[in-house]
C-alpha cells in the first residue's frame, strides 16, 4: 500500500534525533501554554513563526504540530483542578471535571482526559492518514444553509447543561448570544452595540469571556465563601483510574472521537461544538445519570476526546485542500506560505517529506504527550496544595496577561473585570455559566450562516429544507427537542393500554 509506504517514509523523517527534539520541544511548550489561561496554541505558533524562519520547514512544522496537540492536552488541566479553563474547547470539561476534583477525584479526571486525548488523537491521526481526501470532500458539501442547520442542532445540546431551572439556563444562554452581537456585523459592515468604543468594533473576544466567567468569576466566588483555611480539593483515594473508571471511560472516548474528527474537518466547525454535543450525548447514554452534575467521569472523557479528535480533523482540509478551519490552522497556513509551500493535493506530491513527516510526528507527539502527561497528573494535583492566596494571585496574573496580550488593550481588561463580576453573580445565584459560552460561540455563527444562506437563495427561506443535509440536521434537532416529550407520552400511555 502506497499510503503505508509513505507513512513509513514519514516515520523515517520524524524519527531523526533532531526532529524528535523539535517534537519534544513543541509538545512541552504546547502543554505549558495550554495550561495557562488565554495563551492558546494559535497565539504561540503565530509568535514563534518569525523565530523559526531559519529552520528547515519539516522541523518547524513538526514543532508546530507538537504545540498544537500539546495545547489541547494542557487545556484540560486547569479546567479540571481549578474550574478555570484557559480556552473555550475545555469549558465543558470543567463542568464534571471540577466537580470530580472537588470530591478528591482530580487524579482520575486528569487521567481520563489524558488517556482519552491520546486515544482520540491517535485514532483521528489514523483517520487523517487514510481517509483525508474523502473527509475533505464531504466537508465541502456543507454550505451556509447546512451550517445554519448544524448550529440549530448544536443549540439543542444546551439543554444538557441548563441546570435545574429552564429560565436561568436560558438567561445565561441569551447573555452569551447578546455579547456575541457586539461589534461590526460581518454581513453588512454596520456597527452594533459598540457604544462608540473602537475596541468594541471587533466584538468581545471569546477568550476574555471564558477567562472572565471562569477564572475571575471563580476567584471571586472562592474568596467570598468563608470555608476556613484548608487547601481545596485535597486528593482522597487513588490518583489513578479504577477499573470502574476505565469501564465508564472507553465508550465516551470513542464516541467523542467520532464526533470530533468530522467537526474539526469542517470550515467553521472548530473544537468547541463537538465538546458540547459529546457532553449532551454522554448525559443521555450514561448508566449513572444521577452522577451528572456531581462529577461524572463520562462528562470528562467524552468532551476531551472530542476536542482532541477535532484538533486532528482540522489538519484534513488544511493539508488536502489548503483550507484552514481554525485559528491555529490559519496561522499554520501562513507558515506554509512563508516557506513557499502551498497546501493542497499537490503538497503531497511536491513535499512528501514534509507532509508525511508531519503526520508521522503526530503519532509520535501523541505518545510523547501521554508519557509526559501521565506522570504529571500527580504533580498537577499537587498544584492544589499551594496556599490559596498565592494560587489565586497567580491565576489572576495569568488571566490578565492572557487577556492583555490579545490586543495590548486596557479596554479588554475592563471587559474582563465586568464579565468576572457577572461570572461571580451567576455562581452565587445558581445560574449555570456554560450556556453563556455556548451562546457566545453559536449565536454569531447561526446568525451569519443563516443570512449568508438567505443571501445566496435571494431571500428564499425554504432553502433550509430543500437541501437534504440541512433538512436532515433540522429534523434531528426537532427530534432531540421534542423526542423526550413524545417518548414520555408513549411510555405513559402503554400501561394504560
Amino acid at each position: 500500500m502506497s499510503t503505508l509506504d509513505a507513512l513509513m517514509h514519514g516515520f523515517s523523517v520524524a524519527l531523526t534525533i533532531q526532529n524528535l527534539g523539535w517534537a519534544l520541544l513543541g509538545v512541552t511548550l504546547g502543554t505549558a501554554v495550554g495550561v495557562l489561561p488565554g495563551i492558546g496554541p494559535a497565539l504561540t505558533v503565530a509568535l514563534l513563526l518569525p523565530i523559526t524562519f531559519n529552520l528547515d520547514p519539516t522541523s518547524a512544522f513538526i514543532m508546530f504540530a507538537g504545540i498544537y496537540y500539546g495545547g489541547m492536552y494542557g487545556g484540560s488541566t486547569t479546567s479540571i483542578l481549578l474550574n478555570t479553563p484557559g480556552e473555550s474547547a475545555s469549558i465543558i470539561t470543567s463542568i464534571e471535571g471540577n466537580l470530580m476534583a472537588k470530591k478528591g477525584r482530580g487524579g482520575p479526571a486528569l487521567a481520563t482526559a489524558a488517556i482519552g486525548s491520546f486515544v482520540a488523537g491517535t485514532i483521528a491521526t489514523v483517520l487523517l492518514t487514510f481517509l483525508a481526501p474523502a473527509v475533505a470532500d464531504f466537508a465541502l458539501r456543507f454550505g451556509p444553509a447546512e451550517y445554519f442547520a448544524l448550529m440549530v442542532l448544536s443549540f439543542t445540546t444546551v439543554s444538557a447543561v441548563l441546570g435545574n431551572s429552564l429560565p436561568r439556563g436560558l438567561a445565561s444562554l441569551l447573555f452569551g448570544v447578546a455579547l456575541g452581537l457586539v461589534g461590526i456585523d460581518t454581513q453588512t459592515g454596520q456597527a452594533r452595540f459598540a457604544m462608540g468604543v473602537p475596541q468594541m468594533l471587533d466584538g468581545i473576544d471569546i477568550v476574555i469571556v471564558v477567562i472572565g466567567l471562569f477564572a475571575v468569576g471563580e476567584t471571586f466566588y472562592v474568596a467570598t465563601r468563608k470555608t476556613g483555611p484548608e487547601t481545596i480539593n485535597s486528593v482522597k483515594g487513588s490518583t489513578w483510574m479504577t477499573k470502574d473508571d476505565w469501564k465508564r471511560s472507553w465508550k465516551p472516548w470513542l464516541r467523542g472521537t467520532a464526533l470530533g474528527f468530522p467537526f474539526g474537518a469542517m470550515p467553521s466547525g472548530g473544537g468547541e461544538i463537538p465538546t458540547f454535543m459529546s457532553y449532551a450525548i454522554e448525559k443521555r447514554l450514561t448508566t449513572k445519570p444521577e452522577e451528572f452534575g456531581k462529577g461524572a467521569i463520562e462528562g470528562v472523557a467524552g468532551p476531551e476526546a472530542a476536542n482532541n479528535a477535532a484538533a486532528a480533523g482540522v489538519l484534513v482540509p488544511l493539508l488536502t485542500l489548503g483550507l484552514p478551519t481554525s485559528a491555529t490552522a490559519a496561522i499554520m497556513l501562513a507558515a506554509f506560505q512563508q516557506y513557499g509551500l502551498q497546501p493542497g493535493p499537490l503538497l503531497f506530491d511536491n513535499s512528501p517529506d514534509l507532509v508525511w513527516g508531519l503526520i508521522a510526528s503526530l503519532y509520535i507527539g501523541n505518545v510523547m504527550l501521554l508519557v509526559l502527561n501521565l506522570p504529571l497528573v500527580g504533580l498537577w494535583v499537587k498544584l492544589l496544595q499551594i496556599p490559596r492566596p498565592y494560587l489565586y494571585g497567580g491565576i489572576l496574573i495569568f488571566a490578565t496577561l492572557g487577556t492583555y496580550s490579545l490586543n495590548n488593550s486596557v479596554v479588554d481588561l475592563i471587559t474582563l473585570y465586568v464579565v468576572g463580576i457577572v461570572g461571580f453573580l451567576m455562581r452565587r445565584f445558581d445560574i449555570p455559566v456554560a450556556p453563556a459560552v455556548i451562546g457566545l460561540i453559536l449565536g454569531p455563527l447561526a446568525e451569519q450562516q443563516m443570512r449568508r444562506a438567505l443571501a445566496i437563495s435571494q431571500g428564499d427561506f425554504t432553502v433550509f429544507v430543500q437541501e437534504p443535509i440541512s433538512a436532515g440536521l433540522l429534523a434531528v434537532a426537532v427530534i432531540v427537542l421534542l423526542g423526550p416529550m413524545l417518548w414520555k407520552l408513549v411510555v405513559r400511555k402503554k400501561p394504560a393500554a
Binding site: 474568596a223 489572576l396 468576572g420 445565584f429
Partner: protein
C-alpha cells in the same frame, strides 16, 4: 446591593435574585435602544438585516427576565446565600480583589507589567487572608518578573515595560 446578598431574608423585595431578574430586563431594554441605533442598510438579498437578530435577542431578554422575576418572587429560585447549609459569606475579599484588578488595569501601561501584576497579586492574596505583606510582596515581584521575562524573551509577547523591566 451588598447588604441584600449577605442577608437575603431581611428584605422581601430587595433580594439579589430579584435584582438580577430586573437586571436581565434592564439589559433587554438597553439592547432595544442599542438595536434602534443600528443603521439599517438597504443593500443585500438576505431579507434578514443587521438589526433583526438584535431585535429578537432584546425581546427574548425581557421575556426571560420576566420569567426569572416570577421564579424569584415565588421562592423557586434561591441563590446560595439563602440556603441553610451555605458557608458563611463576606464581600471584603471581593473588594480587595476588585481593587487589585482595577489597579492592574490602571497601572499596566504607565507602570509596566511587573508592577501592575505584583499589585494585583498582593491584593488578591490579602483578600484570601494572607497577612504577611513582606513575604507576599516578594513572591509577587518574583513571579511577575519571571513571567515577564519568560513571555517577553521566550515568546516575544510585547508586554508593557516599566520601572522594574529595565533590569533585564
Amino acid at each position: 446591593m451588598t447588604d441584600q446578598i449577605i442577608h437575603p431574608r431581611r428584605h422581601r423585595f430587595l433580594r439579589g435574585e430579584i435584582l438580577l431578574a430586573l437586571g436581565v430586563v434592564a439589559l433587554g431594554i438597553a439592547y432595544i435602544f442599542g438595536t434602534m441605533a443600528i443603521p439599517v442598510s438597504t443593500s443585500g438579498y438576505s431579507r434578514v438585516g443587521p438589526a433583526d437578530f438584535p431585535w429578537g435577542v432584546s425581546i427574548a431578554l425581557i421575556v426571560i427576565g420576566g420569567f426569572l422575576l416570577r421564579e424569584a418572587l415565588s421562592g423557586q429560585w434561591v441563590g446560595e446565600g439563602a440556603q441553610a447549609d451555605a458557608p458563611a459569606f463576606t464581600l471584603v475579599p471581593f473588594a480587595w480583589i476588585s481593587l487589585g484588578l482595577i489597579l492592574d488595569l490602571l497601572l499596566i501601561e504607565p507602570a509596566g507589567f511587573v508592577v501592575a501584576s505584583a499589585v494585583l497579586f498582593v491584593c488578591t492574596a490579602y483578600g484570601f487572608g494572607a497577612r504577611n505583606w513582606l513575604f507576599t510582596s516578594v513572591i509577587a515581584i518574583v513571579l511577575s518578573f519571571l513571567t515577564y521575562v519568560g513571555f517577553s524573551y521566550g515568546l516575544d509577547v510585547g508586554l508593557p515595560p516599566g520601572l522594574l523591566e529595565g533590569l533585564v
